[in-house]
Symmetry: C2
Subunit: 143 residues, 2 copies
């Protein structure tokens, strides 16, 4: 499932955007929605990878058995999304380059799996080195 999120992150990078991708799956593995960060492409600060995947999945009545897969630890905004809608599980590609709210989600009953996927680490390490301005803007960090 992480492959889909990595594909999304790479698509975002190819578009000149921030390389974070995500996908929302049903409990049986069916893909419900996929997306990537669109701050640069659409000038839209509200479209993080997870919110883009959530939006792409459309209106759903019950998220309890769904799985949010993301290339990077979800920020507070995206962690809040997971908690509010009762998404049952989160798979995180890596939490080395940035650590958001995944521990908080685990404390609140979400099944959290944190990987150390080398592709995910490389995507963010390279991007933050190349465009720190964009990255810090994306997480609301003021220099």
């Amino acid at each position: 499932m992480l492959d889909v999120a990595v594909e999304e992150a790479r698509a975002g990078l190819a578009e000149g955007g921030i390389p974070i991708g995500a996908a929302l799956f049903a409990g049986d593995g069916t893909l419900l929605g996929r997306g990537h960060n669109r701050r640069v492409q659409d000038g839209d600060p509200s479209m993080h990878a997870e919110t883009a995947a959530f939006k792409a999945a459309g209106r759903q009545r019950d998220y309890r058995t769904t799985i949010m897969v993301t290339t990077l630890s979800p920020c507070w905004y995206c962690s809040g999304l997971v908690r509010q809608f009762g998404i049952g599980a989160v798979v995180v590609g890596e939490a080395q380059t940035f650590s958001g709210g995944h521990d908080w989600l685990a404390e609140h009953g979400v099944e959290v799996t944190v990987l150390s996927d080398e592709r995910c680490v490389a995507l963010m390490t390279d991007f933050v080195a190349a465009r720190p301005d964009l990255w810090f803007e994306d997480i609301g960090e003021v220099p």
Copy 2:
């Protein structure tokens, strides 16, 4: 400032949507963006009132002096947005019909003001009575 959010909530209701409105202001009172819940109108579960106002404000580099004004206590999704981007203050029209993460925000340094605006209370009370299905869908609550 709450008047703008109430106007947005009423506009959403007139469109057949969920009547929650929000607006993001700069510290000097300049309106940066305004919006309302668009679940029904756009089939978009990611557009809560606060995220719609945040999106409408476009890319900003520093949210520390901004004020998010919303007709209803922000859910975890929207509370996460406020925390991640370091929005300095939140004005809540009412927190009687629904209580989200505003106390959590206050604990994390956000200046939170909770009002008991009768217009806001009436909008939500009437809506939840008329369309409980839509309201519970919007906050991810499963019957």
